[in-house]
Amino acid sequence: MNVLNLFILIPVLTMISIILAKEIRYVRVIAAIGMGCQLVLAAVLIFTYLAIRRAGNTDEMVLTQTLNWFPSLNITYAIGVDGISVAMIGLTSIVIFAGIFASWEVSDLTKEFFVSLILLSTGVFGFFISLDLFTMFLFYEVAVIPMYLLIGIWGSGPKEYSAMKLTIMLMGGSALLLVGILGIYFYSASDGGPLTFNILQIAKVHIPLVVQKFFFPFTFIGFGVLGALFPLHTWSPDGHASAPTAVSMLHAGVLMKLGGYGCFRIAMFLLPEAAHEMAWIFIILTATSVVYGAFGAIMQKDLKYINAYSSVSHCGLVLFALLMMNKTAMDGAIIQMISHGIMTALFFALIGMIYGRTHTRYIDEMGGLMKIIPFLAVCYVIGGLASLGLPGFSGFVAEMTIFVGAFQHADTFHRIVTIVVCSSIVITAVYILRVIGILLLGPIKNNNFLSFKDATWFEKISTVTLIAGITGIGLAPLWLSNMISGSLSHIIERLTM
């Protein structure tokens, strides 16, 4: 059996076991074991993939498998991976594993919480292994809908409003996407072949430019909503702020990347000429995302809002880099996806842990946490430094590559936009250092805080897993970059056709 099927099978089995579990304490253990298997499986997948490539296989996708599903419509269950999706699967399994430990103390409706969380991750895994637009879309929706319950039931603050806003906006995005997918499907026979949902086959077809230009905005914006494309990013700050810790982690860490992944894998890859023609519109929008998100983060006082806006900024950078459409920038975009995914998950995990102790997320009300909970504080500093792009962490590798790539475009428009976007580095440094200064250093403002205990064992597992991820990429970016660059060249080839 194809190893990729396990990525769906294991979560499904985990969910079933959780539902059947008799006692609540087993639930967490089952979830942790299940997602632990998933993490191991992801590692196995990475090595398998590298081995396949070393053996000289240069196919666009490997480990492929196709099963007919709705033969009359040519809908198939088609799976396969390339370097990029392998990297995304790795990211997802790290974040979900850390997420399980970060939500160790969920006590209300525990079973339901873990089932929804794992259902969400099933959708994400399914999305990354799919090669068929129909199944991709199916998994995309599976990933979005549990979010409503997760935020609505276990969230905080104005959770009902945020949950509804997030769900409706993301579903609105998927509505646009559906139009795009159907358009691509019905024009996939432009060269006289059969209608197909299979990405690899569509990529061989030349869809007329007029058609491409009609459907590109639908598809790109459809995924862009999930990737927090300005001005459709507004669900993100509210949603992330209200969501429970693990959900913020998974959402900012993985789901927003799913948007970016979809943007290039479907919108740009399948409609390349339109992508070239219309890129400028989206470059302006994404540049706005980057700068606006960064300024937004400066203005916020709530830790989660700061991080949510920072995610808008960083995810904007991902989309910006993708639209540069050259190898260096896109390389950077993928590394940024992975790096930001882990980093933001770390942030949200830490914020959740800090909030669990202080019961406030306003930075003004806290201070001197470094003296009280040094472990968590140091982790926070590591995350912060990675976020502002300090060499040695993943953020630096990603942003450096992106900006070098963006500068390869010599025309005025690209230059100006790139310079504007570069300014976000400085702004990012401002809000990160400000938070670290007020929150962690500074005097202890509240004497009740003195009684806090530092990280528990499960919190340590959660944070250490994530930190290992960022430093791993930061110190040895080459293995990641090697893995994705081969696959990326297929996409670049099509984009520069």
Partner: protein, 473 residues
Amino acid sequence: MALSDFLLMRNELLLTLIAIIIVVAELAFSPQKQHKIVSMTLWLFFAITIAGFIPAAKGVLFGGMFHNSELTILMKNILNIAVLIVFIQSYSWIKKPENNYKIAEYFLLIVSTLIGMNFMISSGDFLMFYLGLELATIPVAALAAYDRYKNKSAEAGVKLILSSALSSAILLYGISMIYGSTGSIYFAEVVPRISSNPLQTLAFIFFFAGMAFKISLVPFHLWAADVYEGAPINITSYLSVVSKGAAVFIFTIILFTVFSPVMAMWKDVLYIISILTMTVGNLFALRQQNMKRFLAFSSIAQAGFILLGIIDGSQFGMTSVIYFVLIYVFSNLGAFGVVAAISNVTGKETMSDYNGFYRTNPKLSLVMMLSLFSLAGIPPVAGFFGKFFLFASAAHQGYYWLVFIAVLNATISLYYYLMPVKAMFINKSDSPIVFFRSDGMTRLGLLICVAGMVVVGFASAIYEYIRMLSFGG
């Protein structure tokens, strides 16, 4: 008539037999034993539903008035399954003491409407079609007024009979124009003589308006909400699923056969009507607090989505319509089943009564959630597949803006489908509905619905089977 001719009409004849048995049983059983009719009818109807799956011969009877094919049998089977679920779900309600003296009526009326629907689907000319349609409509008015001592129920009955009489009149007028201009009422003979001359255009519009009443398309939907709210829940679910499903089937067949020469014309009409129906249905559903009204408006909006499949006019479109109706049967009956179960035990029908329901009755809440998700078109339940194929059928004809409006409407509909979910799962309540254990039949009914919602989507064989039988231009 030879035996084989009887076999062609076996569905209709068996149903008639049941109707007669019910009448005889009511006369034979003493008032204390009337409730025995319930189990008897259930078993008989179960037998008929199974018998429907025995392969039958194709054929034409009465010189073309009645025809039977695999497609009509499929449609009849879908209706049979739906009615069986309705019967199962109404088991505990009909056994309540206050209904004791009118048990037979309930079953008799439903079975006779079903006979009408079967004739309607099998009709080969407008006369048979009209007969079937009336037989399928008039008893429904009596059903709506089933709780006749309740004002709302009586009102529902009167509203239904008046509006359906009006719509039948309009429809009949349209048919008479067709007869006048083509000289025939047989579908096969009418087709070659249909064109878009003014008289036949008018005939089509009248016919369309009449059918739009039955399917409750905007702007002919005004009766629906009041009738759905006034009628007892089980009858509302019957109205919104079976009556509507049957009307959709025959509407599709007639558009695809009789009116196929003027396809371009009816596509334009459907384009506008489907946008109107989805949008108005959705906007009204947004504000509903009563669960029955809520589901009523949601089913109006669903009818708008169904038009997306019909507008395709091809085999793919018909497949999508039938497939969607099949899924809609399970989803809508699932939702109505839960509402009925709650209403039977507690009498509560308002959305705010559902606050905190998950904590007291998790299983019912889950069924409700799945049904609503299926109606909203969220995977992995079957509604997703149904909606996706409907949208794809409209896109098949290049109506991408229509698809766009439809998917936006689907997003709006998600908002209100999430409202009961929010009430049950998220909202807290000081006095939630206390735990109750619903009776075996209710659970069986819901179990069938859940199984349907899960299986029909993933099992592509069902889709392919429907596709094989469908036709279109």
